[in-house]
């Protein structure tokens, strides 16, 4: 395992332990015997986190993973895109936000790839495919199964 990756997993495990401590502190106000289970879980989690940190120090020869700045940037953009999509779906509505989101993602995923097809009619093909996906999801969920669907001021 790459040193950077070890650090990332260490940071994650320490964060988990910190959350367990925060939960443990909140348990203080819980009446007996209802506090037993949260205490058991938080205690176990803290012990396991310590165990994992010790184990990482002695582990060798695990998979090497590297992350470049571009990959991190891509990940942040991906997360931000999904968060904006969720906000848009609740404020604008399913059809418009989903079509726009899919269209943007199709285009971004291909960004920088040399492809003859892309150079000809990517927008038309992508628009048709995103509309088809949005409509088929709506047909199954809303019209066939009559389920509650995200709706807002626009459609």
């Amino acid at each position: 395992m790459d040193r950077l990756c070890i650090y990332a997993s260490d940071v994650f495990i320490i964060l988990v332990a910190a959350i367990a401590i925060a939960f443990r502190i909140q348990t203080a106000g819980t009446a007996e015997p209802f506090d037993a289970y949260p205490k058991l879980i938080t205690g176990a989690l803290i012990l396991l986190a310590i165990g994992c940190l010790i184990q990482t120090r002695f582990s060798q020869g695990l998979t090497k993973k590297e992350s470049s700045f571009t990959q991190v940037l891509k990940f942040v953009a991906l997360i931000a895109g999904i968060a904006i999509y969720i906000l848009a779906i609740s404020k604008i509505g399913y059809f418009v936000s989903s079509t726009l989101y899919l269209l943007t993602m199709f285009h971004l995923k291909r960004y920088g790839n040399a492809d003859e097809f892309l150079e000809t009619k990517p927008i038309v093909a992508d628009s048709l495919i995103s509309l088809a996906i949005v409509t088929s999801i709506a047909v199954v969920f809303k019209f066939a199964l009559n389920l509650v669907f995200p709706e807002s001021w626009l459609f």
Partner: protein, 505 residues
């Protein structure tokens, strides 16, 4: 026997068979779609079932239940997204098989194992539902707590070479499951002032996030044009027949595990499939293959998963106590027909009871026929380029989470758990145990809190638990599972060293 034969004659009616076939198709689609559960499908069909009358209506609901539980395997295998919580372990080996271009092998193995497991479970329901229903009454809170512990110990064994990290992940799942109301006292805790958290972390959106969203993000980050190669294998059925001949003991054991756990009210298919999977791995000659694409893993998980479908109806039909939410909805259907479940079902409406049991047998045969053709259709998901598939799965996750919770809050839960799952995958911590912790959390907590109340007059909780024979057996099994985990880890390391030595020299 006569009653059962008369039940079969009621079912072999062209109209009933047609309705059941349509229900099988619908059930497979619902099970395959992430976010849609068998409960959702069964409840949606309740008004239609009422219009059809008891025999046809119940047969339709039974067919949906059977098919939806199987359908969960399709998305688990093709997209690493378990359609239902009970198909969680199917993804452990099903998706690696897809990655190796063996999607058809995994899909057909899941279908055949589901049908065999389903038939086994139905035979258990027919033959022994009365005595087994009585045994399930002996399961009290301590036994449920021990059962949940067994499920979690089994998790340690399936966390490929990472027992500690697997347990950490499982405990993190249990911790997340604490958020919201205490299942026994009803007190609100761990919400940190966030109002929507009072209702807790909903399991379906959380599972959608952990498995689907994190996977969709992986698809979008990958450089390949497709998630996995789509290819047909030569002599596939010959290879599968050989595999099933070799794995008959796994199939039988998993079906027995599924049937027994299905009978226990509240235990659920997730525990059944995880214990069966763990057993298959423990007894395997090459446990190192599990998690990397072992067909036996898919067989064990799916056989147990579908065996518990029929057996979960045992306490409902025998005692009027629904064993899970699906059984509760079917019980609602029975009551809407004016039939009182429990022992009264056999004495007053035995014809309907046996027709329903016969319909479960027929459902499994219909599933075999219809599922066989639908496999070819579902496997074509692999032909979709990843730049269309990734965003499409994200849109499906969001709509699925919304439909499961009727609220945008469910979508944010899905987003949060998806992010957590993705980070955990990146730092090398398995996410399967976390999902199981989430599912088992409320069962374990309720079991422990009620056991503590029951043990107030005893010297200690441990002595109280150990004084109960079933709990004692389960505790012994927990210890055995942990030892087995360590043993399997050692065996895996030895096998890998040997493989490396062979490669080098």
């Amino acid at each position: 026997m006569e009653s059962l034969l008369s039940g079969f004659s009621d079912i072999f009616d062209p109209q009933t068979l047609l309705i059941m076939s349509l229900a099988i198709v619908g059930g497979i689609v619902v099970g395959t779609l992430p976010g849609l559960s068998s409960v959702m499908a069964i409840s949606l069909m309740l008004p239609i079932a009422y219009a059809f009358g008891p025999v046809m209506g119940l047969s339709m609901l039974g067919a949906i239940y059977t098919a939806a539980l199987y359908g969960g395997a399709n998305s688990a295998i093709l997209l690493n997204t378990p359609g239902t919580p009970s198909s969680l372990p199917t993804a452990f080996d099903g998706f690696p098989l897809t990655r190796q271009g063996k999607a058809y092998r995994a899909l057909y193995a899941a279908l055949f194992a589901s049908v065999i497991g389903g038939l086994f479970g139905t035979l258990v329901l027919i033959a022994a539902f009365e005595p087994l229903a009585n045994l399930s009454l002996k399961f009290g809170p301590p036994e449920f707590f021990c059962l949940a512990c067994l499920g979690l110990c089994a998790v340690a064994a399936i966390s490929e070479g990472q027992v500690l990290r697997g347990l950490l992940s499982a405990c993190l799942g249990l911790l997340i499951a604490l958020i919201g109301q205490d299942p026994v006292s009803g007190d609100v805790r761990f919400t940190f002032g966030v109002y929507p958290l009072i209702s807790g972390i909903e399991v379906i959106p959380a599972l959608l996030g952990l498995f689907s969203l994190s996977q969709a993000m992986n698809i979008l980050e990958a450089t390949g044009s497709h998630i996995a190669p789509y290819k047909a294998e030569a002599n596939l059925f010959g290879k599968l027949a050989r595999k099933f001949r070799q794995s008959w003991s796994i199939l039988l054991r998993s079906s027995i595990v599924g049937s027994i756990i299905g009978i226990l009210p509240g235990a659920g298919g997730a525990i059944a499939s995880i214990i069966a999977y763990n057993e298959a791995r423990r007894t395997s000659k090459d446990p190192g293959l599990f998690g990397k694409g072992a067909v036996e893993g898919v067989i064990a998980s799916e056989a147990a998963n579908n065996a518990q479908v029929s057996s979960s109806l045992v306490p409902m039909m025998g005692l009027g106590i629904p064993g899970n939410v699906n059984a509760a909805v079917i019980m609602g259907a029975l009551m809407s027909f004016g039939i009182q479940p429990g022992m009264g079902l056999l004495s007053n409406s035995s014809d309907i009871a046996y027709a329903f049991m016969a319909s479960l047998v027929v459902s499994n045969f219909l599933l075999l026929g219809i599922g066989f053709y639908m496999v070819k259709l579902t496997a074509r998901v692999l032909l979709i380029p990843s730049n269309y598939l990734g965003p499409g799965v994200i849109a499906l996750c969001i709509v699925g989470a919304y439909a499961a919770t009727y609220d945008i809050y469910g979508v944010w839960v899905m987003f949060g758990t998806g992010l957590l799952g993705y980070i955990m995958l990146r730092v090398g911590i398995p996410i399967g145990p976390l999902a199981l912790g989430l599912v088992l959390g409320p069962i374990a907590e309720k079991g422990l809190a009620q056991s503590l109340q029951m043990a107030e007059s005893e010297t200690s909780l441990l002595s109280f638990i150990l004084s109960r024979p079933i709990s004692l057996v389960l505790i012994i099994l927990c210890i055995a599972a942990l030892f087995a985990a360590l043993l399997v880890e050692k065996k895996t390391r030895l096998a890998e060293t040997r493989r490396k030595e062979l490669q080098d020299g």
